[in-house]
Symmetry: D3
């Protein structure tokens, strides 16, 4: 058998890679990025430190829990610090070779201090799930089995990281949850306490969305942008406020799409599958026009 | 560099944990729950025992298949029995320390006896997929690649477990499938034979839904609850019949939402993206009003 | 405790298996199929060979990249060749025992030659993502974190395999992406360059769909078939052209459903949640009728 | 190709197994034994708890060491307790089915309390190695690289377990070290502090040997039994005192063999390769007769 | 930092490799050899099939043992067949590309048929250990903890393979045991039943040694060759009979060296550390001259 | 059951650890050491780079070997550089916090340049084994199965590292081989080409030993120090020349012990089990006095 021309393919790929790097004005050796697999481990450890009885080692004994939390936290923060160094170096092409140990250490420490408030917020989310789902028997079950909670653990961690300027790590963390749950929350979104997403597959919450407390979403709800203005050069204008605001106690049913920087007033209910592009006042109830049902015509 | 105050964080998290446990009237040492990772292995082994040629060891030889099925089944049932013990203990806070070996053994045995009927039902589901998808070339391919079948293997296992009262394990099993396929079937739902879900992402089937035989669903179909009545104390009424009934031979196209304890009569077709909250008779065809198409206005 | 009757269950399962195989006119020893787990590794290696700096070993040094690409490619092609042999043998029941080494080697070589063009196409997809998403900061981030790109890497590899007749492997490859991203692209679909899928959960692109260049889709968009004609024997007609054509520069917003062999003319915009079953000319803008908003009625 | 008669072999092996069990007067289902692999993990964790900076996680940070020790100890003691249960059940054939949870817990606790004294003794052994080997640069290096220390960590743990009656576990623990170092110390032997074994391959120390403090052995030293008396029935007399006593400050050079219940008086030196079967007084120097050296005769 | 000249080193190594291959009259692509890691797994599985209760899955249940043995045997024989193919191809340079499937299958089958006799022989070895060691409490403990038994399991498997002409695999199997136990038995040696090696580190048994039944060896015993005659070209004469014969019931104590094609008559005892190069008649007792003990001279 | 007082044990261990560190004049946070597990991987990769066909990926294809060597070398050197940094920092307590990146890089590069000469030397060792062992069939078999070669691969790598001042890493590397083979070669020893150790268990070669070319050793040979002089303070004098010199073509049979800074003249033969403490001229043949054989006295 003739050999596969592997050397030729390797060199063709190398020249494509080289020119792709040049187009992006990168040197031939691009800086590293934070690594998704490392962050998966890291978030798993953080979740175990936050909820050791439910998301940690299932056989842990009562008298060893604090030891376990400390060890797990230490591992998680060491790994996180490593990833932070990569993000800082990636964003500082003007300082090649700089290691960023001290900055990464400081940022990891600032993140760590937010873990207790994150846990408190997640406790309110668990309450909301228990109160909002007739199928839920206990808070413990919700914690181990509800994808909405898994997504919120990732989001609330990522949101703190995003606030510290670690936008790449933050995005990778929410994408890990997106992949596992089908729930896509941008780490920049602002979400109040007692938040509950049921089922969740297909939920999208955009970068500048603002969600009050006691809000409830069902599967396939989009809180998106309506349009994407370009600047004078034809480039997208980035980062402006373009996603909806949901006030406290809003409920959005499955498949609803809410687009643009509009406000859904508090206690409003958005029905399933509707399409909303204008603000609605408090206590509104938005529903879809009814569908037609008719008999299937007899075959000819 | 100043050290991260890890001890302080550990103790703050401990006191939050402690008060969360007290709010739920739990002792300081909460009972264990069944573990998702253990159940992932367990279902993988059960699937391998059900379909050893396709979902088991890919190199297994013909003369060793029964040995393989027996070994795999034994591993799966041992692990399942362990998880059943945890669920029984979790649900019996009045009997702390009780091990539940005998009950778990009995329940695992009762479950094991249902494996042949589960396999027979799954064979009808595979037939339905083959007959229902123009892109399908063989039943073997469907078994290894269709997410709808993966979801049904999990659901049909979970439904038997749910019927034995093992609601936590059952829910974890269907959530494993939900995470992998985007198909969210509550283990309490009742689903007849020859069931086919195509593509599947975003499908939600609620706890009290009843589905006949020869039913076909496409992606993003919701069979949900319409509303959530509260009792006199303002708490949700749990577990009542609140999801739709789909009679035999019903087809529901992508994105349709069917809510409440309504009945879709046999041989009916529910069109894509429609919203149905009232029962429809047999042989109905429910469709959405058409959309408007108009030219994009010229820019000013 | 009474023992679980494991022997009895094993033999019952064996007889069910036996009769299921006979119904499919298979011998008692069915041929092997390509294995999903092997293909997961394989695609991971191919992605690492295509984008070694971002999707390969995160610690790889600049001077070792070509070594790394060559090694990784070699591993991937060896594994692929193995899986190709299985598919060829599975599809050739008339030649039992034939090993297909030479054919598999040739097909693996033909596939390998398409890797540079695949990389070039993916570079245009990355450009499209960068230009199409206001939240994107750099192409590097997109490559490591956007599910749409992950799905396209799988699709573009699978499409080449599908073109070589390796339909089972191709389908398994796109299902791997489907499971991770919720994006379900049939490997037979034809997709031009500069393609961008944002968020992506719930996107379905059917087997005979044709998509031009510079097309953009949002989450939960379906490009599906409208109906499924049967032949004179009541069997589904398979493989005919039944999915939409999207011309260049078309944009389809979240939740839109486009069904049947229709054409969406170039530069058209399809609004969110709409249902399109007829062709639309170039530059069209299709939108949904607006929903009704009314105050929540006071409780009685 | 004809199939290998695997069923036949399985049944032949089963009948051999059955009759072997009957010969040992065991029921057809033999009780489990402690598992070597589990004990390997267990001793690795205990060593990490004793010397966390050198034998634990190499990246552990200073402020997390106590957390790490606690977590590791908890894991080790849980596993040990499990293995203790197996040994207790194995030795109690008259109580089939008994779980021995409480006794195992008590024994694990008694073992745990001996960990600080074990660490103190090992510290003296490290001192002895540092003072006894001209090639040693630091105590830290000795701890990570000297097989004699590895063997002593296992022995000192095993000796405590042996003292608690856990003879099977104790033997498995010293065999783990034997396999890694070639040093075979019976857990029943009594060994004082400041003990040093250099190189170590081939050292054998028997069950009833007694070794004082500040003793030093080189490779291939045997402290063995001289003969094996049988009782009236022709069976070996088991467990009587049959191995040597080495008093304080004795040095035994490579390859020496000391057999029987004899005493080597304090400060004695036993030369390399000698064979000693009679007691020697304190301060003795035992050496081998010199060898003959002569020219190699010229070939005929 | 200057880069390490990795490309240069790779090419230098390649040219050394190339010329080494040429010196051995090999083509530039050398045939593969059986792989040690694969054989480690394989022997582990064979040992588990021979002694499932003690060397297999520690949690296996009684009713599943035959399933377990069959599955494990099937895995082991598949892997073995693969390795046999490699050895056959390596030894047949005149038939490049030949796959040897059928021959390997036949040899694996012939090997498999010898497993029951191997088990029976090992049962006699276990008896011998129990009867020969005063420290042994039960046959079960011996099976899991005695290195002599581990070495014999490997040897008895390897000896059958050696007899089938699979000399490379056979040697790798005994080297696996050598590495774990320090006991080096050439697979060509012939060893009768009821064989016991105590402690074992340093034992060497040469290729043409013949050992009767009921023989007992202690650590560091060598049964070696005395000299290595060369042929007319100055090359070693290979494979001639050059190692000792030990008749039934011989005992050899620690460190004894027996060299050359001599015979140790039945029931003889060879003392520790002696050097024997001439045959001894039955019932002999060979011992070393005694050593001198004198007081350590007072320091000047 | 009463809880095990794990907190108490942790704190007792902490205070013992603390005082042990103080005795060694270390700060409370001791510097890290190179890690054995990391070096095991590292040497495995180096061996694979040196002998890719035999000690690398067994399925590697001919056209990919250089890619494989480059990738493996890169991984090995990255890991080595990391371990070098740890050794440099450990040995520089006066420069706490210094990272030593540049020095480690330089040292790794200097090591890498010695790989081709190491390979050339090992090729002579393989030749010597082939020529010296009547049981050897091919050089390929020797490479994969002879423990003497495994030990020499580790030694020759370690010796170069030792020459670069990396004494801790070098020692760990030879200890890895010691554990696997029972052959204990100090990395400081100087060993010429065509070196062969047969069987090898129990061989010890001391730090300052010098071995010429074409030397052959059998199992359990010691090249050791005769005595250990102390300085005026009673401390061992370290690192002086205290081990034997073996000139070219010397052969030493099993169990021989050669002690002190003596010279064994070229072409000498040292017989088995002898004890040599004085120099012998070239062409000497040193043997043991013969043992006595007498009949076993009849029992009374």
């Amino acid at each position: 058998m003739e050999e596969i021309a592997i050397e030729h393919i390797v060199h063709t790929l190398a020249s494509i890679r080289e020119s792709a790097l040049q187009q992006r004005q990168r040197l031939s050796q691009p800086p590293k990025l934070p690594a998704r697999k490392a962050l998966e481990k890291c978030v798993e450890w953080l979740a175990a430190a936050l909820f050791p009885n439910r998301l940690g080692d299932p056989d842990i004994q009562a008298h060893a829990i604090n030891f376990y939390v400390g060890t797990t936290l230490d591992k998680a923060l060491r790994e996180l610090q490593q990833q932070i160094r990569l993000e800082l170096a990636f964003k500082a092409p003007a300082e090649p070779g700089k290691q960023f140990h001290a900055q990464a250490h400081t940022l990891a420490g600032q993140f760590a201090e937010q873990l207790p408030p994150i846990r408190l917020q997640l406790d309110t989310d668990l309450q909301a799930a228990y109160q909002g789902d007739p199928a839920a028997d206990s808070i413990d079950e919700i914690l181990v089995s509800y994808p909405g909670i898994l997504a919120l653990i990732h989001y609330r961690i990522a949101h703190v990281l995003h606030g510290l300027g670690l936008t790449i790590i933050a995005r990778l963390v929410t994408e890990i949850a997106h992949s596992r749950t089908g729930i896509d929350i941008h780490p920049g979104a602002q979400i109040g306490d007692h938040f509950f997403i049921d089922h969740g597959t297909g939920v999208v919450i955009g970068e500048t969305a603002i969600i009050g407390s006691h809000v409830r979403l069902y599967q396939a709800v989009t809180l998106g942008a309506k349009n994407f203005p370009k600047d004078a050069n034809g480039h997208l204008v980035k980062k402006f406020e373009r996603h909806p605001i949901l006030e406290d106690f809003v409920v959005v049913y499955a498949g609803a799409t809410i687009l643009g920087r509009i406000t859904i007033g508090q206690h409003s209910i958005i029905g399933g599958n509707v399409w909303v592009t204008r603000s609605v006042p408090a206590n509104s109830h938005v529903t879809q026009a009814h569908s037609d049902a008719k008999p299937i015509p007899a075959a000819a």
